[in-house]
Each structure stands twice: as structure tokens, then as C-alpha cells.
Symmetry: C3
Subunit: 472 residues, 3 copies
């Protein structure tokens, strides 16, 4: 499959084989940087950054220049027409008429998908709120791969803010795709969101073992593990869920420790206390432990206090290499999507785990995504953007927004079939009722609350009081 | 006449033939975009945006890159030396020493003219306050021309904020130059300024028929026409002013409907109420009317609520084409002004209506432009910029600022002749008096108010109480 | 010595011969601007401006484009990861991995040195707080040289804000290096800082004669001279310090008058009154004096009110030429540091005054630089940056920060030798005591205050009450 004219919104947009092809081309480009200057001659990249960034923006722009291409750039949200209330779709259509490829960072989750839908040229997501940051993930995987030759069966520990770190969410799915095992070591209160865990289990086929209740802290000191993802392709010992012996696992060594800063700018007001808390620092002392002897210490940067400067000259420190490798990775990606270079996808490209084709939610009501950062609920976007969901589970009923990919569990349902037949008898029922489970997807109407159902003219039905999704 | 080293500050800087030459070159460039990459190789464009913009800035920068040129860019007023109190003239001289051509957007009206006066290289006005935005106008005209083959005799309706929409003012004069007829459909309170109307009548030779008093609303529903400009070259029926039959005219169909958003950021505090008012939306329902069957729906973008998204896929919707055509138009313009390409001005270039050579106001007093947004009254500019005016009318006495082009009617006058002869006898008279009308332009001294006259040592003369300009 | 891969942080980083080589290459480039377009083809310059700037940023970017190179740019401090608390060292390492050369402006003094230490590629200081701005200095020298053929023995008057004008500090040292004489004409309260004067005397070998007490104002009207630097290579008459006859000197003519604006944005709150004071304006009337007949009027721009617009067309006005010459100067410098061109250093390059090799202060205490704008005391930098000082004088004891180059006089000292031998007997003594003067540099521990010494466990010693540095 050709890369030409495709977009990269989430890491799932590339198969494992395609990712390997990007890596192979990045290798080639890194070795002959000076000879790439005509690859994208005459092409224009639009670099649209609606959130602060040095690294990612400059990295994309440098990559495009190394390929001989040109750049038009927005580096400041306040200097654009978005302050006049312009929609992402309008901006995408227009910038797509100016440039040959668009790179976008935006605070709204799902924003890159909307831009990709309307631009008419390839779009690369350079970070959309807390959702995804797939090119960072490519740099991360590429770094591990170059140092360890493979990703399969590795043990990767993720440390710090696993809630708001968007690079983390992209990375988790990518590691799972490539058969790595993941240790979750979140800062308290900043655990991996449930929708990520659920997607991991459902779509990537592994198991997630939570370790709460086990006396981890005693065993591992400043390095608590609160959950572990075990890939289906992992060795026997690891796969013995639920009897996994974390201590044994850890003592055989961690392959990479991926540290992140607290994304305080995304904290809710309730999380203000977390922001003040001093996090344990990853430093030489911590890395003296046996399991870290050969560990790659990684960080997407910028760091604040969570990673000590004394590791900068330690051979395990990979974070500046990660950043530097962003240039060949992004050069490879830009030249592939622009069709200026071809990618050689290896034969085993079919090893990419196919994503499940969930049924679509046929919009029979005014249901909106409950994620306040989702692009689909913003004032400038609701004028044209219809909410769209996939039904990813029936028990409990779970919908996933196609834009921000957040999953949620509506509490009440109705049927569009009954509604059409007997307009005066629109009833809503509990989403946890057997009645609800029998509804076919194309007839399903969901409501987040009873009030929502009533406001649309529905009355409580016979099964409205049945146990709801939460089992109450 | 060559385009090389000329500036484009207002649409009047180009004759009709020259505009046709820009269009012809734009056609050529649009058809061979990939082959223009050496046209401006080695040239530098300075892109100076002192007001928020995505579209226009990126469009100019993309155009320059498509020509193989380079760009230096200011996209944020707060990051420049203007915050240190630097004048436009100083900035212009310096940037003119760095770049081969300058593109400027600025909130002050007349700013582009000042930059053009001092830069020493060609300057393109990319919008100066509420004054002009001539390259937007070129895109607008180019779009109509490409869809209708001609501009002459067309009926173009302008809708929305006709007061602050600077694209509107440039467009009005351009349409008049090319012999189109204009229907004014302003949002209430946002009518076309009187100085625009006056210039239209005086310099473009057509007639403006106001329709207030006619029961337009009843006839046209949500689409009131408050005035109509009838070009002198229009067909007999239209020219029958004042007995013009609007209904008949409209029923024969509107060629283009040019919609604009309310420029709320320019509203005065008195206009706060207007900002809250819901405007009628141009949507499919409105366009069901007979007169809109073949109407081109245009918008300079960004849109907010005034234009429905449902029109995006309607064949009448032209606004994304308008934006996309900004690239070839700006490529043509940049290459012409830089002298990298020659323009082929058609033989009928003399059809451009010559502007009237108004007498200059010989500055005998401290008269300043009453427009608070005019570049000539700003603190950093008054140090070196002398106010200059043209005397565009004698009854009532009307001056026009050469920078912002606002016209105004001073209420009192004196004579510099009398003043020199008898210094103790400096008298001011009503501008509406016969005495005033007899003054020769080179002796005329004007005052906006009696207080102004007195503060400069003048005393009321015999005709000071005569009817003033306003006829009171 | 080759220029390749070197950085330019202060003007002292270049010898006189190397500066002449830059000028020679700038001459060549100015004469064949169009033929330089392949010199830096494929190279990337990172342009990092963390303070407002039009002129300097655009000048560097235009220079790089004239050489055929590319630019990645940060023009706004608020759009970067520094808002997330990232250190300069991290930023430098990463940008150094993206670009071939880095240009940085930053509000912290010494910031460019830190970036140069970590970037791994050449770094050019485009202004670091009130410290230095060496490329502006090169433009200034180049302009004088082109107009007067030499710098040696010239009389250059510096006018206005000599305290915060960073261009002034770079210029003073450069003029001294080239054997010019300097007249200091500060705005009251904005005199040249003492650390500049001291460095001038100690390292450049000339004499500084203060003129306070002399009735300058009566003699020179609006043009007070408060001090004069006399170069050691100057003619006999000038060198007759202290019997220098200012009036005679001035009557023989001033070669250049370098005017600066008040850098109000750097004023302390105590200096608020100064900001309101009206400064005398350099205008045609002032320049009617005999000594200004052939004077070059210079200004680093932007100007505010200190330099009249009426001089813009005066042949003595050099300030727009200064700005325009920034392009060939920066082209020459970029191509030299990138190794794209070679510099021809003249044989007399040894005439550069060698800087004194001061002993290092061996850090035996927690001494920090007392300059609050120094990079070494900023929250994000102290995590990794150890303060470093040179001992530039023993009587009074004076340390100079290696980053911001501010000199200061610690009041108390201790010895690391005694400390190691008898840990319970750590004593501090007055820095002005004979005991202190006998300490060898490697044993010296300094404290700014007694409280600082006590807080580190030191007790007052026998000579703690001896006269301190200030002679009290």
C-alpha cells in the first residue's frame, strides 16, 4: 500500500510493516542527510501550531528544509483567524489549498482528524490535546529499536503522568502493536485513563493485570507499578496472568524506562494539589538498582524536575538521541506522504493487528461526546460537525467518539424503531436492562442522563429502573 | 507601463488593463504551478503582519515559495520594535534594506501608504485597518471573471458589514471601475460609509440610488437592499435612475452575492448592541429564491455565522475557490512587481477611469485628519508625517486625507492671504458662506471647529454665522 | 585560525585581525549579493528570539536566505517550551541537533554562553539582556571603518543610555581594541556601569579620565561629557592624562556621535523618574557646532525621541546605513562560522590585545552571582549550571561571573585549606584584611555578606572587622 496522500492522525494509521518502512527510510536519510536536499524541492509544508512548542515544530520544519522543501508556519494561536471564530474545517480547506502537506498541533482532542477530513492534502498530527502524538511515538519506537534491534517481548516501564501525557497514549498502543510488555508506574492520581486500558484489552488482545493490593511499594521502593500489560505474543512466564510475579519480572531487568513530566497545564482545578506534590526524581541513585543496569532512560522532553541532569552523560540516557532522531524520522515520513519517496514495506506487514470493525452508532438523538476537550463539542465546530460514535461494547454499553476516541457509557437507551411506529410512546430504558441488550445497533438511541432523555420527549419505560451500566 | 518597482496600496494603483494583465499571468501560473519555482529564486519577501491573519499571510508566503523565493516574517505585533515606539517610516526603511518586496498588514488606516513612501522597494497592502485590502479584491474580481467571463454590467449584491469590512471598500471601487452594478444590503447600522458613496459618485461617474422609504423588506423578505450603485455603462433599464425598479432588477437575477462577517473587533462601544444582534444567515433556503438561481455565493472568509455550512458543497459556493485563487493571483502580482515577469497589458487599458486630479490643501494651519485610526494621527508617526489632504469638493467644502482616504467637512475657513497682509486681523468664516466658496485652494485654511480656529488666534469674521457645511 | 565551528558570544571572541577578515568578506558580499545564493545551500540556521526584535531577527534571517540557506525560527518567548520550565541547556542540545548554526537573543545575561556550551554547533549572540550584542558592534565598527578608513585614534562620543544599552558595552570594548578614544556623554543616571570601566582600564590598557567637577556644561552646552577613555595608542596630546584639555579635544572635532535610546524596559522601579525625563534631542541645531561638522551620526535603532527625523537626509546621518550593512556583515559571519567560506586574517592579526588570563575561583562555597539578570541564578538553570568566576582583582577582591561578566566585590573570605584541616574552626575574615590578600586563589572562599558566611557554618575570625572591600 502506498503512503502517498495518506494522513497520520493516530499511530494506528500505520501497520507494523509500514512503521518498519518508515524506520528503514529514516536510517537511509540519517546516513546521507546532505544528499536529501532535492527530495521535496518545490513542495510546501504548512506548520500549524496552536499550542506552545519548540521541539516538535522546529523538528518538522528542519526536516522539511533538509528535504529541500519550504515551510509556511503558524506558531501562535492568538495570531490567527481562529480568534475570529473560524472553524477547523474552513482553516483546513484553505491551508490545504496553499500547501502540499499540513502538520497540526491543537489543544482539542480529535482536531487533527477534522483537519485531515477537510484539507484535501496529507495531514500529520503533531499532538491533539491529550489524545495522540504519533510522530513522537515513531521517534520513541525508532530509538528503542535501534538500541535493542527489536520491540517484541521487551519490558517497557512508563513513569510519571500517564493521564495527560499524550505521547504516552500513542506509545502504549504502538508498544502493544509490536508485542512489547508495559509496566505502568504512574504518579499517584495520574494513572492511565480507563478508555486506554479498555482499548488495549479489546483491540490489542493482551491482558492488563492491576497490582493494587500487592505490596509493591515495599518491594520496589520509589518505583511503584500499578498495572502491567502483557502482550499475547510474550513468553510463557510473563503470560501467566493472573499469577504473574512482578518481582521476578522486574528482577530480570527493565528494557526501557520512559519518564514524563506532569502536564500541569492540562490539570483540572481538582488536580491542583497534585501539581504541588514533589515527584520522585529519576536519578543515578534510582538507576543503581539491578533491574535498571541496562535500561534505556527515555523522555519525550521538555523535562522539568523528574529527570536529573546527572544522567545526561550516562550511556543509558537516550532522551537527546530521541529528539535528534526526530529529524530523519520526520524526513522519512514527509517524503513518503508527499509521494516523493517510496516505502519498502516488509513482507510480514500482515503481522499488524487488524483493528476491530465496530458497528457505527446511528445518530437517532442529540447525544454528544462527554469529553469537554473533544473537538466535536467546541462552539466553532458544532455548526458543521456531527458527533459520530462506534459501539465498542454492549455490556456495559460503551460508545467511543470517532474524533477524540474517548469511550463512555450512556445510562439510558431507546429504540428508533418503536419511535417511528408510535410517536406518542417514546420510552427510554436502562442501558443495563436485557431490553437494551437486545436492541440492534442501527436502532439504538443513547442518552447520557435521564434528563437528556426527557428533554427530547422520552418517558421512562418499564425497564428504566433496571440496573444501569454501572451495575447500580 | 511596467509593473516593476511599483507598489499596490489601493486598488486604484492598477488600471483596468493592468488588472487584466495580472489575471492573465495568474491563469498561466495556475496551469503550470510546478514550473514557476525559479521565477523569484534568490528574492526575499518581507511579510509584516501587525494584525491577526492566517489566510492572507500564509497565502502570500506560499505564493512566494511557489515562485522559489524566500520569506522573512513578522506575525505578531507584540514581538516587534513597534512596542519600543518605533515609527513605520523607520521600520520601512530598514526592512526595505533587507528584502526585495514588502507585504504589510496593519491596524492603522493609511499605514501601507507610509511604508510604500519609505521602503525603497515595492510594497503590497495586505489590509490597513478599515481602509483597503486590494489583493483580496483581485481574488474576488478574478473569481467572478473566471465564472462569468466579464464584470461589465453584472449585478453584484454586497451583504452584511459594509461599514468595517475593508475588503468591501476595495471591492466597491473595483466593481465600479469595471462597470458592474452594486446592490448594497447592509446589516442595520453597518451601512457603507458616506465617504465611500461620495467617492463612488464623484470619481466613478455612476449613480447611487437609496431605496429607503420603499417597502423593500416586504418585497424581498430577509434581504433588504438599502442602496444601489448603477454604473454609467449599464444597460438602459438599470440606468433609469431614479425610477429604477428594484424588483424587476432583482427578478432578473443577482450575479454574485458577496457575504461578509461583522468585524466586531472594530466596533465602537456604541455599536456593542449590534454585535449581539443575530444576523440573517445566508443558507439554502434563502438561495431558493428565483433571483439566486445562478448566483455566485462569495465570502472573503473567515466566516462566523452568516453563511451556512450546507452551502459548502453547493455549486454556487465560490468562497473556497476565492481563497485558493489567492495563490496564483499573488504569485502573478509578486513576480510582476519584482520585475521577474512582464505583464501583457491589453490595448484597451485606457478604459480605466482616470481619477480626478483634486487640488491639494496647502497646509496653512494645524488641521489634522479626524479619523482616529488614521496613520497620520498616531503618536509615533506625527513626529515626521505631515497631514496632507486633497480638496475633493467646495460645496460643501470637503477634504480627503491622502493616507486613510477618509473625507470630512471642516466647518470654518480662513484665508492665508488676509492673514499675511494684516496679522492682527485673522478672521474665520463659515465654510458654508459665499465668502468661503470664493477662496482659492492655495489660500484656504480650514478648521474642524470654532475652538480650533480660536486656539490658533483667529476671531469670528462677518460670515462666521452663515450656514455651515451641514446646511444648519 | 579558522572560523569554522566557533561561536560569537562577546566581541572579545574575535581578534582584531579576524574582525578585519569579517569586514573584508562583507565588502565582497555587498558587491556581489546576487552571487552568494549557493554559499550556504542546504544549511539550516535556528533563529531563537526570546525578546522582541524586528531588525536583528529579520536581518539574520535575510542574511541566511541571501546565502541560500534555510531558517527555523522562534520569535515569541511565550510559544516555546520555556513556558513549561525547560532549561537553556536542554533547548540548546535539541536545537543544535536540528540546525547547523544557532542565533539567540535572550533577556538573561550570559544566556548565549550557556547555549554555546551545549549546542554542539556554532552559536551567535544576538543580544543577551544588558550584556552584549556583538553583531551590532560589528555593524557599528564596519560603518565607521568604511567612512573613515580606520578606527585608530578616532574620537567617538557615546550619547544617551550608557547603562542599559547592551550595544554600547560591546561597542566600548571593540573601540578600545581598535585604539579609538571614547567620550562618554550619558543621560544623567544612566552612566556606564563601573564593571565596564574597570574592565576597560584593566584589560584594554587605556586610561579613563572622569570630568566631573569641570564645568563641562557651561563649556559644552547640551552635550555634557562625564568621562573619556584615552587609548594607549593615541596621539601625545590626548594621552596627557590627567591634564587632558577636553575643550581642545572637542574643538578638533568628534568623528562619530553614537546616540542611543533609553532602554526603559530595563529600568528598575527606582529609575522610573528617569523614564519620564525629557532627554535632549540630537538635531540639526546641535550639529551646527564646529566639532560636529564632519561627525558621523550613528544609532543602533529603534529610535524614539532622542534623534530628530530632520537628520534622516543629512549626509552625516549613518543610522540607516548601519542597519543596511547588517546584511553583508551577517552574511560574512554566518558563512565563516559554518565553514562555507574562509576568512583571510591579515598578518597583523597579532595586534589584538590579548585578554588577561585571570585565575579561576575554585568553588568552595555556595557563592552566587549577585546580578539578578544573570543566567546562572535563574530557577530553570541552577539545576545544572554551577556558578563560575574569575578573580580579576585582589585589592579590592573582585570576582567576575563567567556568564554575565558582571564584576562584584565579596566582603568576606575564608580559606579552604584551614577548613579541611580543622573542620570545627571555620573562620571568615574581611576581604579587605591583609590575611585575605595572602590567600592563594585556589584556597579562596568568598561570601557576599556575613549572613551568608554564618549560614554555611563559618564564625567571625580575628580579621573579620578589618576594613572591607569598600574601605569602611
Amino acid at each position: 500500500m502506498s503512503f502517498k496522500n495518506r494522513s497520520l492522525v493516530t499511530i494506528d494509521d500505520l501497520s507494523n510493516g509500514e512503521i518498519e518502512a518508515v524506520f528503514a527510510l529514516a536510517d537511509e536519510m540519517a546516513e546521507s542527510m546532505d544528499r536529501q536536499i532535492d527530495v521535496c524541492h518545490g513542495k510546501i509544508m504548512a506548520s500549524l501550531f496552536f499550542e506552545p512548542s519548540t521541539r516538535t515544530r522546529l523538528s518538522f520544519e528542519a526536516a522539511m528544509h533538509r528535504l529541500g522543501g519550504n515551510v509556511i508556519s503558524v506558531s501562535d494561536a492568538t495570531s490567527t483567524s481562529q480568534t475570529k471564530g473560524e472553524s477547523l474545517a474552513d482553516m483546513a480547506r484553505i491551508v490545504g489549498a496553499y500547501a502540499d502537506i499540513v502538520v497540526i498541533r491543537h489543544p482539542w482532542e480529535g482536531a487533527a482528524q477534522v483537519v485531515a477530513n477537510y484539507a484535501g492534502v496529507p495531514v500529520i498530527n503533531a499532538g491533539d490535546g491529550g489524545h495522540q502524538h504519533p510522530t513522537q511515538t515513531l521517534c520513541d519506537l525508532y530509538t528503542i529499536k535501534k538500541e535493542r534491534q527489536t520491540l517484541e517481548g521487551l519490558k517497557i516501564a512508563l513513569w510519571g503522568d500517564l493521564k495527560y501525557g499524550r505521547t504516552i497514549h500513542s506509545l502504549i498502543f504502538a508498544l502493544a502493536k509490536f508485542g512489547a510488555n508495559i509496566l505502568f508506574c504512574p504518579s499517584p492520581g495520574l494513572e492511565v485513563p480507563q478508555h486506554v486500558i479498555k482499548k488495549l484489552i479489546t483491540e490489542y488482545g493482551g491482558e492488563v493485570e492491576t497490582t493494587s493490593g500487592i505490596e509493591d511499594e515495599e518491594r520496589l521502593g520509589p518505583f511503584p507499578v500499578d498495572a502491567m500489560y502483557v502482550t499475547p505474543s510474550s513468553s510463557h512466564q510473563l503470560a501467566m496472568v493472573p499469577d504473574i510475579d512482578l518481582e521476578v519480572e522486574l528482577n530480570t531487568g527493565v528494557d526501557a524506562l520512559y519518564v514524563t513530566r506532569s502536564q500541569k497545564e492540562r490539570f483540572t482545578s481538582d488536580e491542583g494539589q497534585l501539581a504541588k506534590k514533589q515527584l520522585p526524581v529519576v536519578d543515578k541513585k534510582l538507576l543503581e538498582r539491578d533491574q535498571f543496569k541496562r535500561t534505556l532512560v527515555m523522555h519525550p522532553l521538555p523535562r522539568v524536575d523528574e529527570l536529573a541532569y546527572e544522567l545526561d552523560d550516562d550511556p543509558r540516557g537516550m532522551y537527546f538521541k530521541q529528539a535528534a532522531r526526530g529529524i530523519p524520522i520526520r524526513m522519512a515520513l514527509l517524503s513518503l506522504l508527499l509521494g516523493s519517496r517510496e516505502g519498502r514495506v516488509p513482507n510480514d506487514s500482515d503481522s499488524a493487528m487488524p483493528l476491530i470493525a465496530y458497528p457505527e452508532y446511528s445518530r437517532g438523538s442529540a447525544l454528544t461526546c462527554p469529553n469537554p476537550s473533544c473537538v466535536s463539542v467546541q462552539a466553532s465546530e458544532i455548526k458543521y460537525l456531527e458527533p459520530e460514535f462506534k459501539i465498542v461494547n454492549r455490556d456495559p454499553l460503551t460508545l467511543r467518539c470517532v474524533y477524540c476516541e474517548h469511550g463512555f457509557e450512556p445510562e439510558y437507551v431507546a429504540s428508533s424503531e418503536r419511535q417511528e411506529g408510535s410517536p406518542g410512546d417514546n420510552r427510554y430504558q436502562s442501558a443495563g436492562s436485557r431490553w437494551a441488550r437486545k436492541l440492534s445497533p442501527e436502532n439504538l438511541i443513547a442518552f447520557n442522563t435521564e434528563a437528556e432523555a426527557r428533554s427530547q420527549g422520552y418517558k421512562p419505560g418499564r425497564y428504566a429502573k433496571a440496573p444501569n451500566n454501572k451495575g447500580l
